[in-house]
């Protein structure tokens, strides 16, 4: 393939592949991206994939219906382990969402233009991940129909929520996060929706995209306002990258449980979030660029960068693990000592060592350039990191709870089929959302790529 050889040439010339392969003009970029939505035949794989994920959404619906009907007792939770899969999955999904915001907001502010081709679907990933995450705190409540009591709204009971509780902070953090992410994502979509409106042949598609693009006419005034609004939202979203998972970590750190009550949680949670988020970005990017032949827009440069971020955040997370052990060993707290010993040797030891393997040992492969430049390896390592981060949440939630202060109250947690059904159901929900997203809106921002056309041709010209 000619592109491939050019890639290799470019790599030799720059040491790194470009963010957009040469040969693109404004028109080719627009054609290629919008074709996925408007004119290209939907691949059979899309239908298969969508149906499978929709099936899992069905499983989720059933699991939720049964949950509402019977109560949270259908899960494996108990006393002492009163939080199980719901909280594990909540933290996991919220963490995954973080990479999207990191890519679209922080990288925008620091002018990393390579992000342009991946920010759209990374943001979509954030949205769906936060939706999946948001489901769990609702579902895990004993009486979910009273969820609105968590909000400070005027009521006849003259009751406010308990602002001392991290769960209330969570409500604010996650709902803010979802709102900002949605706005940010949608705002970025408007010029592209207008583009689709202009190119759509189908009458209904035209009308729908017209409605959604809010009358975008591509005028300079529109662009000016758009740019400033986008930058403002990026500015708003940036602190959220740090704050949301910090608040989530407070759910644990504020409690007095050994294994939860520790000050390193906020930074270590944020790093872990970005770690798992980039893993999810890679898991989505690698097949997308392959199936839609978008490897000229999502290049090895992107994959390499994402892998480097994973490596860096993975090291921070590993440092967190080391510090946890160190504090337990060095500190005077007998309960924390036992907690650490129990993590390593207790009934859940395989989970702990699995976490160390997945999150600390295997990601070290990313030091090797050969691995970072192999989409297959990256895909496998990303899966491994997602698994590892999930195991980390199992370790934090379950092994801390199951043996705390009074040995008489110790217990075990075994997830039931309904736990698994709910978890798999959200995976399906996420996947179905991503499939719809790929099909209905441009997965890569058209106008931002057009900016890159100019830039990358300059880069080539320099050489």
């Amino acid at each position: 393939m000619p592109e491939r050889s050019i890639t290799e040439q470019m790599q030799e010339a720059h040491g790194r592949p470009p963010v957009l392969l040469p040969g693109h003009t404004y028109a080719t970029v627009t054609d290629k991206i919008s074709a996925v939505v408007l004119s290209r035949r939907t691949p059979l794989g899309w239908y298969i994939g969508f149906l499978m994920s929709a099936g899992l959404v069905g499983v989720l619906t059933l699991a939720i219906a049964y949950l509402m009907y019977r109560g949270v007792g259908i899960w494996g939770i108990n006393v002492p382990v009163a939080w199980g899969f719901a909280i594990i999955n909540f933290v996991w999904w919220v963490g995954i969402g973080h990479a999207g915001t990191f890519i679209s907001a922080i990288l925008l502010l620091v002018k990393q233009s390579w992000r342009n081709s991946i920010n759209r679907f990374a943001e979509a990933m954030t949205l769906f991940a936060v939706m999946c995450a948001g489901m769990f705190p609702l579902l895990h409540m004993g009486r979910p129909w009273l969820f609105y009591w968590m909000f400070p709204y005027p009521n006849t009971m003259s009751m406010w929520p308990n602002f001392r509780s991290p769960l209330v902070w969570d409500v604010f953090a996650v709902s803010t996060y979802f709102t900002i992410s949605l706005l940010f994502w949608y705002l970025g979509l408007i010029p592209d929706l207008a583009c689709l409106r202009d190119r759509a042949v189908n009458k209904w598609a035209k009308r729908i995209y017209a409605g959604l693009s809010f009358g975008w006419r591509n005028s300079a005034r529109h662009w000016k306002r758009y740019e400033s609004a986008y930058l403002l939202l990026a500015g708003l979203a940036t602190p959220l990258v740090l704050s949301v998972h910090t608040v989530v970590s407070f759910d644990f750190a504020v409690a007095m449980l050994p294994g939860w009550h520790t000050t390193i949680f906020p930074p270590y949670f944020v790093a872990g979030a970005i770690f798992s988020g980039f893993a999810m970005v890679l898991i989505l990017a690698i097949p997308i660029r392959k199936i839609y032949a978008l490897d000229d827009m999502i290049t090895m440069r992107h994959l390499d960068n994402a892998a480097k971020v994973m490596l860096a955040t993975g090291l921070i997370v590993a440092y967190g693990y080391i510090m946890e052990v160190f504090f337990a060993w060095y500190g005077p707290n007998q309960y924390e000592k036992y907690m650490m010993w129990n993590r390593m040797n207790g009934p859940y030891a395989p989970v702990y060592w699995g976490l160390i393997l997945c999150n600390v040992l295997i990601p070290q492969l990313l030091w090797l350039r050969r691995i970072r430049y192999s989409p297959k390896w990256l895909f496998v390592i990303s899966l491994d990191v997602l698994l590892g981060m999930w195991l980390e949440r199992v370790v934090i939630v379950v092994t801390s709870l199951h043996r705390d202060f009074l040995p008489s109250a110790w217990g075990m947690y075994i997830p039931t089929r309904w736990d698994w059904a709910t978890f798999l159901g959200t995976l399906g929900f996420f996947a179905a959302g991503m499939f719809l997203f790929m099909r209905l809106v441009p997965a890569i921002p058209i106008f931002e790529m057009r900016e890159l056309v100019h830039k990358s041709s300059e880069e080539v010209a320099v050489k």
């Binding site: 619906t61 059933l62 219906a65 049964y66 509402m68 009907y69 019977r70 109560g71 949270v72 007792g73 259908i74 494996g76 939770i77 108990n78 006393v79 002492p80 382990v81 009163a82 939080w83 705190p137 895990h140 409540m141 004993g142 009486r143 979910p144 129909w145 009273l146 969820f147 009591w149 968590m150 009751m159 406010w160 308990n162 001392r164 509780s165 991290p166 769960l167 409500v171 759910d251 504020v254 409690a255 007095m256 449980l257 007998q334 036992y338 009934p347 709870l401 202060f405 009074l406 040995p407 008489s408 109250a409 110790w410 217990g411 075990m412 947690y413 075994i414 997830p415 039931t416 309904w418």
Partner: protein, 1059 residues
């Protein structure tokens, strides 16, 4: 669908059936009655005995768990689920069953409605009608208390019963009765559930057809007349041990009328050996009472006197515990200074326990010798010879045992007149005779030991009687048998084949509250009354008479035993009230009967009716041992001990879900009877926890699941009676293993050699407490008496409690009441009475075995049992754990909706209506005392349970957290009473349910702002410490450390081994 059920869980159609039945007053359908009692309907599904073999075979292929803790790991496996499901009574397994077609449709309906409609409940139609004539003293909303008594195996337990608008709802000990002094026990506490048991017999039945009382009278009139013709030669009456003077008089009256008739008594856990021991020693039946308040040294020969099954338990527990307080001297108070050295006025007692099955009694011993059942006699002889009884002597099994025995002898001799030797109920007569002789030799008689007339109305050798009855039945001498109360088809020794013999009797009349195994084999079934529904009388262990008065009219029109017996007399229609009152009218002379009757009924006992002590001498002079001595068990053969179950007793409480779900004192097992095996024996026989073994004895066999019990003697196993019921009801049927299947009439209490064969299968034994080790944490703090005197503040030294002033925030000042509790772990005997009392008072639901396996039991108060030391003979500690009501409660901080908040009186309050069920509070509770309604555990539909519940306590629904409230409803009642008098709530007038039930006075609750309150005195005690107080929770519930009193003669090493 079946989510309403927790403990019994019948399927939906059955449930509807029962509801309909209850709704239509008491008119069950014929079909249901067939289910309940008919022998021919035994094939019906829900009463079918569960087939263990088949279900356990399913587990066979799975990985055998190494130890029971891996249960939950198993719980995830399919086989385990299946096993649990099938093991359960039908319906209980509906919890997590796959969705059936029917369920699926409902589910889809629910998914349409989803959350929003869950709040909409169909409101039942309940017309509110005012009293036309309000009963005297009745104030709606204000409970009334009535004195009565419960009878268990021939002894009365004096009670005070709370009645809410005519519904008995809570049982308490009668505080004015010298035996109870307000303390009670698990059986009486839980008996209120039996009253409202929906499985009770609801009509009279003849061959499966509903009958009425007049038709019964008419139906048997002919046979009675026929018996009259033959002087009653074919009439037999089989009762439980009768403790009612009236009933005994009635039966004697019947026997007078039918001279050929015979009366037998049968209790599977009977006191034949006690009676025979007395006969041996004194030549007559006597009843032995102890006064433990005066005993400095107590030696128990396998006597479980601190367990609720022991007659007089409440008295002995209180007396024992009163001597376990190392600072009883009031002058020594307050104990606030570190250099407290004042000696108590009466020293703490020293308790030596020689025990064949680990019990909570042995757990309280200063020196505990685990010894095989058959060796207890030998040890008794060693002790007896040493104190001057001609008993032959012998050698202890080990040097260590010998040294402990020597120390015991030394202590006994040093405390003549202030020591006591107590022999165990199940021990052979010779051990009882030896104990009598020892007490006499030590001069204890008249001081710590008293003999009185027998308390039971007609002391007989029950085993011999039952044998005679069975042989009469086999040869066809019996035309008509009346069985009242007893359940011999289930619990008679297997070699008698009682059920076979019973079939030879043409007319079999059963009278009782439940359609049990015996009822199923009788032609006439007369539904009996619960003791809360009948007039009767009973003697307590001190011989005093209590009049049993009903708290409610019979729920199903049942008849009491008195009324049944009247059918054989001249006045068949005479009521129970007239019978009992008439009997006493004939007995009481010289006083105004009406006022005597009023006072006796009101007080709960007849004044001055206790038996006077008899002055007796032991007649037996030589106790020389028989020639042969028991050889040790080797190979696959071990000694087997039968014991009444600590919770369901002999099986009569098997359908009581409170007792089924009560953690047994030593093992913490629920819903099953584990086979106790010592660690060494288990290793020798290659047995592991939960292995199913087959026990063979005299051609009979039964299966049982192994429980490795530290402190059990080697080469000996204990099997508990009362399980494996075939017709107990929805809670008890099919639970556990039936030990009666191998119990022989010749060896009722122990079998010298039985074979244990591993089946290769395992059976899940569920406990509420996974870990019984303190893993080095200072949870129960302990010192010897010597250590305590050297350093009275030892308990406060091991952990640093943060200073309350170390905070940035102003400290909240409790200006009014400040409620607090102190629990004396030295006084606690681990009897669990508090747990059941709490369950009854606070409407705590039962969740069933499988939910307990998942870790979802709901007890607001639990008793933790910890083991320390070697496996062969560990030290055991009991720690009751209610909510600590921490002043800086971790749970309150984390609740997002402020559903748990701190009251101005220091209570950690739980607002159910506000709770949304995030369970964060439970996660953050270091004591894990919070309980969550993971499913709808409470039965909201059963009409009987609606009557039973405490109306002052909210019935919690699904999805809310709950926990101990310090019985806030009782505080409110106390507050109302006090405010009416314009005064503060006086100390002691508000008692929590646990405190009130505690027979040993270990729990004290009160206002810690009142410096003269008892709770403050206890909290000022140097032994007082807060559990996990180093976490700065500042618990309001605090504990008093354990102080043991080991013999100074035993060197340290042995003390740590033994003490």
């Amino acid at each position: 669908m079946e989510s309403q059920v927790n403990r019994e869980g019948p399927s939906q159609p059955e449930r509807r059936e029962q509801e309909r039945v209850s709704a239509e007053a008491v008119c069950p359908t014929k079909k249901e009655l067939l289910y309940q009692i008919s022998g021919t309907a035994s094939g019906k599904k829900q009463l079918t005995r569960y087939d263990f073999e088949a279900a356990l075979a399913a587990l066979d292929s799975g990985d055998a768990p190494e130890y029971w803790r891996s249960l939950e790991e198993l719980a995830g496996t399919k086989e385990f689920q299946e096993q649990l499901h099938r093991e359960f009574p039908k319906g209980a397994s509906e919890w997590l069953d796959p969705v059936s077609r029917r369920g699926f449709l409902k589910l889809m309906g629910a998914s349409v409605a989803l959350a929003g409609l869950t709040g909409c409940i169909r409101q039942p139609l309940e017309p509110i009608v005012p009293y036309v004539r309000q009963p005297e003293n009745q104030v709606l909303g204000k409970p009334m208390f009535y004195a009565t008594a419960m009878t268990l195996s021939g002894y009365g337990r004096p009670l005070l019963v709370r009645s809410n608008e005519g519904r008995p709802s809570k049982i308490e000990g009668n505080p004015e009765h010298p035996v109870s002094m307000g303390g009670s026990d698990i059986f009486s506490q839980a008996s209120v559930l039996d009253l409202y048991d929906p499985d009770r017999l609801q009509t009279m039945i003849y061959e499966g057809e509903i009958r009425t009382w007049p038709s019964f009278l008419g139906g048997v009139r002919g046979q009675i007349a026929a018996q009259q013709a033959v002087q009653g030669a074919g009439l037999r009456i089989l009762t439980e041990t009768v403790a009612s003077p009236t009933l005994a008089a009635q039966i004697r009256g019947v026997l007078q009328r039918f001279p050929g008739a015979k009366w037998y008594q049968w209790d599977p856990v009977n006191r034949d050996n006690v009676r025979a021991g007395a006969q041996m020693a004194f030549g007559q039946f006597v009843h032995t009472q102890y006064r433990l308040t005066d005993a400095d040294v107590i030696v128990s020969l396998d006597a479980n006197f601190l367990s609720p099954e022991f007659p007089g338990f409440t008295k002995y527990a209180r007396e024992f515990s009163s001597r376990r307080r190392p600072e009883t001297n009031p002058a020594a108070r307050p104990f606030t200074t570190a250099n407290y050295t004042a000696l108590p006025d009466r020293p703490i007692n020293r308790f030596y326990s020689i025990e064949s099955t680990p019990t909570n009694t042995g757990a309280k011993a200063d020196h505990h010798i685990p010894v095989r059942f058959s060796d207890v006699e030998k040890y008794a002889r060693i002790l007896a010879s040493a104190v001057g009884v001609n008993a032959g002597g012998g050698n202890a099994n080990s040097d260590l045992d010998g040294k402990v025995l020597a120390a015991a002898v030394k202590d006994l001799q040093a405390h003549r007149g202030t020591s006591v030797v107590i022999a165990g109920e199940q021990q052979p007569p010779i051990v009882h005779a030896l104990a009598h002789a020892m007490n006499e030799a030590l001069g204890n008689v008249g001081k710590t030991v008293f003999y009185t007339e027998p308390v039971e109305a007609n002391p007989t050798d029950q085993m011999a009687g039952l044998k005679e009855l069975v042989s009469d039945m086999w040869v066809g001498k019996v035309d008509m048998i009346v069985i009242t109360g007893a359940n011999p088809v289930y619990d008679a020794p297997v070699d008698l084949n009682f059920v076979g013999a019973l079939q030879k009797v043409p007319l079999r009349i059963y009278h009782g509250t439940h359609g049990n195994e015996t009822a199923a084999n009788c032609s006439w079934v007369v539904n009996g009354t619960h003791y809360l529904e009948e007039w009767s009388d009973v003697r307590s262990i001190d011989g005093s008479v209590s009049i049993v008065q009903p708290l409610i009219a019979p729920l199903y029109g049942g008849k009491s035993a008195h009324e049944l017996l009247n059918a054989f007399g001249a006045q068949p229609e005479l009521s129970g009230y007239e019978t009992v009152r008439g009997y006493w009218q004939s007995q009481i002379k010289g006083v105004d009967f009406e006022s005597w009757w009023q006072k006796s009924v009101h007080d709960g006992f007849v004044a001055n009716s206790a038996y006077a002590p008899l002055n007796l001498r032991v007649k037996m002079t030589s106790f020389a041992p028989p020639a042969q001595t028991a050889a040790g068990n080797t190979g696959g053969s071990v000694e087997l001990i039968f014991r009444p179950d600590p919770c369901v007793y002999d099986g009569r409480f098997a359908n009581n879900a409170w007792l089924q779900e009560l953690h047994k004192p030593m093992t913490k097992v629920v819903w099953d009877n584990p086979l106790m095996v010592s660690p060494n024996t288990a290793a020798r026989l290659d047995l592991e926890q939960q292995d199913v073994v087959e026990i063979r004895n005299a051609g009979q066999k039964v299966e049982a699941a192994v429980w490795i019990q530290p402190g059990h003697p080697d080469d000996s196993v204990t099997m508990f009676l009362g399980y494996g019921r075939q017709r107990a009801g929805r809670a008890g049927t099919g639970m556990g293993f039936n030990a009666y299947q191998i119990r022989q009439s010749t060896e009722l209490n122990s079998v010298h050699g039985v074979k244990l064969n591993k089946t290769g299968r395992t059976y899940p034994l569920i406990t509420t407490q996974g870990f019984q080790s303190m893993v080095g944490r200072h949870l129960v703090r302990e010192a010897t008496l010597e250590g305590f005197r050297k350093d009275p503040l030892f308990a406060t030294r091991v952990e640093k409690e943060p200073d309350p002033a170390e905070t940035l925030y102003p400290v909240y000042e409790y200006t009014g009441y400040a409620w607090g509790m102190a629990i004396d772990q030295n006084a606690c005997v681990g009897c669990n009475a508090c747990v059941i009392a709490c369950q009854s008072e606070n409407n705590v639901p039962v969740v069933g075995k499988m939910e307990v396996a998942r870790g979802r039991h709901m007890h607001w108060l639990r008793v933790d049992t910890y083991y320390k030391g070697g496996l062969a003979n560990p030290q055991v500690y009991f720690q009751p754990v209610p909510c600590m009501h921490c002043e800086t409660a971790p749970c309150e901080l984390v609740c997002p909706v402020a559903a748990t908040v701190h009251g101005t009186e220091g209570l950690n309050e739980m607002i159910y209506n506000r709770c949304v069920g995030t369970r964060y509070c439970s996660n953050n509770c270091p004591y894990k005392v919070r309980r969550f309604n993971f499913l709808l555990f409470q039965d909201w539909n059963m009409p009987q349970y609606k009557m039973m519940r405490n109306p002052d306590v909210t019935v919690r629904s699904r999805g809310v957290m709950e926990k101990c409230t310090y019985c806030i409803q009782r505080i409110q009642h106390g507050r109302m009473d006090a405010e009416k008098k314009d005064q503060l709530i006086p100390d002691g007038s508000v008692q929590t349910a646990c405190q009130q039930a505690c027979p040993s006075d270990a729990i004290v609750f009160g206002n810690i702002n009142d410096k003269n309150s008892r709770v403050v005195k206890l909290k000022e005690n140097p032994r007082n410490y807060g559990l996990l107080a180093d976490l700065n929770t500042r618990p309001r519930t605090t504990y008093l450390a354990v102080v043991t009193n080991p013999s100074p003669d035993l060197p340290e090493a042995e003390k740590s081994e033994h003490a």
